[in-house]
């Protein structure tokens, strides 16, 4: 770890202080109270993560037909949320600050909070209450936004969607509730020197769109933005000792009628397997014959060219 020392005679406090006046922020980690930049503007970075069934394995529909069968299913952190944890750590390495990972879910969700702490996050918060169960995306966003208000934030990061039922709404709705801008599906995030705004590259159909958003803001992350680090052994040891703060409905001031299955705007009728594709043809013969046959099939049978 290299820390460029800067000497400052007088260290004024307050958020209106322009960071530029003190030159560039030295790159160091972790947050350092003797560093004027860290001290004056500690970035409060919130990362919202979700535990999801590992989609690489086979999924079965349960007997009731409304949900998947959860027996023997490995659970993982939603891959997009893992990018969010990594990005938060990168921001902290550059600007200093505090990374808090927050997850709503059953007791089991503590696993992914623990693994994020092992990656380097400073604090873990677990939103856990029986009345949260069955909440739709909006109610979930409501719960998360209460947590965000309680914890404070300069920047909020989460995955663009969860790979389970992939609603892709929680981040957007949370930003709406908090009344902060949301830039979705980003592939690059640059924060200005004074930490007043960020420029994010958002995925659009033609390519990328560069968007400037004032902070605080929420960003949802797309695959490709970074490569999540592996937890180091000391990191894992440190994470084991850390206490995960648990917040329930009472602590978040959530009323039972606003969340859970009964408040859901969506009701699931059933799950089904997608229709199977009809068996295809494996072309035979030498390459020339195969190519000729393929062109004939595409023009005459499939009629697609």
């Amino acid at each position: 770890m290299t820390v460029r020392k800067i000497t400052i005679a007088f260290a004024p406090l307050g958020p209106s202080l322009p960071g530029k006046a003190y030159g560039e922020h030295p790159v160091h980690s972790p947050f350092d109270r003797t560093c004027i930049h860290c001290y004056t503007f500690p970035m409060n970075i919130l990362v919202f993560i979700k535990q999801v069934p590992d989609t690489a394995i086979g999924l079965k529909i349960n007997a009731e037909g409304m949900d998947i069968a959860y027996q023997d299913i490995p659970w993982v952190i939603n891959p997009y949320d893992e990018y969010a944890v990594e990005e938060a750590l990168l921001i902290k390495e550059k600007f200093g600050g505090n990374v808090t990972v927050v997850s709503m879910g059953h007791d089991k969700a503590a696993e992914i909070i623990r693994s994020s702490l092992a990656m380097g996050a400073d604090e873990g918060v677990h939103l856990n209450d029986a009345i949260f169960e069955g909440s739709d995306a909006y109610s979930t966003a409501l719960i998360l936004s209460r947590a965000a208000r309680l914890l404070g934030y300069d920047i909020i990061l989460c995955g663009k969607n969860a790979v389970d039922n992939g609603w892709g709404e929680v981040g957007a709705a949370q930003a709406e509730i908090l009344n902060i801008p949301c830039v979705s599906s980003i592939l690059k995030l640059d924060i200005s020197e004074d930490k007043k705004y960020a420029i994010a590259s958002r995925e659009i159909d033609e390519g990328l769109e560069m968007i400037q958003a004032p902070l605080p803001a929420l960003f949802t992350l797309q695959q490709g933005i970074n490569k999540p680090r592996y937890a180091s052994l000391p990191g894992i040891m440190r994470a084991k000792k850390k206490e995960i703060r648990v917040l329930d409905a009472g602590a978040l001031n959530i009323q039972p009628q606003d969340v859970g299955r009964n408040a859901s705007r969506i009701s699931i009728k059933r799950l089904a397997y997608p229709p199977a594709r009809k068996k295809g043809k494996l072309l035979q013969g030498d390459s020339q014959t195969e190519v000729k046959e393929l062109i004939a099939l595409l023009t005459k049978e499939a009629k697609v060219i």
Binding site: G166, E206, E209, G224, I268, P274
Partner: protein, 324 residues
Amino acid sequence: MAGIWIIAERRANAVTEGTLEAIGAGRVVSGNLKTELTTVILGNGPDSLPANCSDAGTDNVYLLDNPLLSQYTSDAYIAALQHLIKLHSPALILIPSTCNGRDLAPKLAGRLKTAYIPDVSQIEFADNEIIFHRPIYGGRLLSQVTCRGEKPWITTLRPRAFEKAGAVKNGARVENHIASLSRDSIRTIVKGIKKTQKGLGLTEADIIVSGGRGMKGAENFKMLEELAGILGGVVGASGAAVDAGWMPHSAQVGQTGKVVSPKLYIACGISGAPQHLAGMSTSKCIVAINKDPEAPILQWADYGIVGDLFEIVPMLIEALNTTT
């Protein structure tokens, strides 16, 4: 039930294919529910009614006009739409599932606190209910859901899942609305656009020629571009090819990239990981060229060739060049 709306997307002076598909889906829904169908176009300028929209079979076209709507920003779009929604209280809003559509729809639903259903692939009617089908777990399962509570319900429609609306000369009633917006209410600034996709977007293309790990290098994608050029298609890539840096992320087909459903999908050197299959398994016709006879993609292909793509693809280019 009050009306069904479609939020149109424009390109030059036409609405996109995805918008025509949404109008097609909307015609079925409004027919079933015996309600009016309205296309909403946001933009700048009074002469902004696209030619292919006026005769697409909607009852109304609302033009929301403001210079601040000339470029998409969610703040401006939502503010303008919120005003119009209050005025007309639609029951259901259909939005094409493009990058901008997927950005706008959940924010709008979040603002209105109403139900949002993304990536709908089929709409069904039963017992006075609208049932939306949507793929979940990367397309490995289909979820069938209904909405309840406050309206409008908001959905995004999966590209190429619905029949495009054919032209009908019914002459939609056109209403001009001036959206009152202030620049201060738009919190984000678009600093620039970097185009990485040439011509048609992947999701709109009829024919896609895709390459995977078997392409062995970025330079070999030229060959696929040539093949796509002859067929009038575009080039896509698997996650492996994008991770290797051979193709831009915008070209990625799969669960974490674009979900496509072209008439013809040619997979070259793609093994067919579940993540990739999730993005293309609804293609009408799939051709797979792979040297590994065990590659899972061959199970999904309508026509499979086990062989060296560096031999097959040039032959295919040559044969197509001589026949056409």
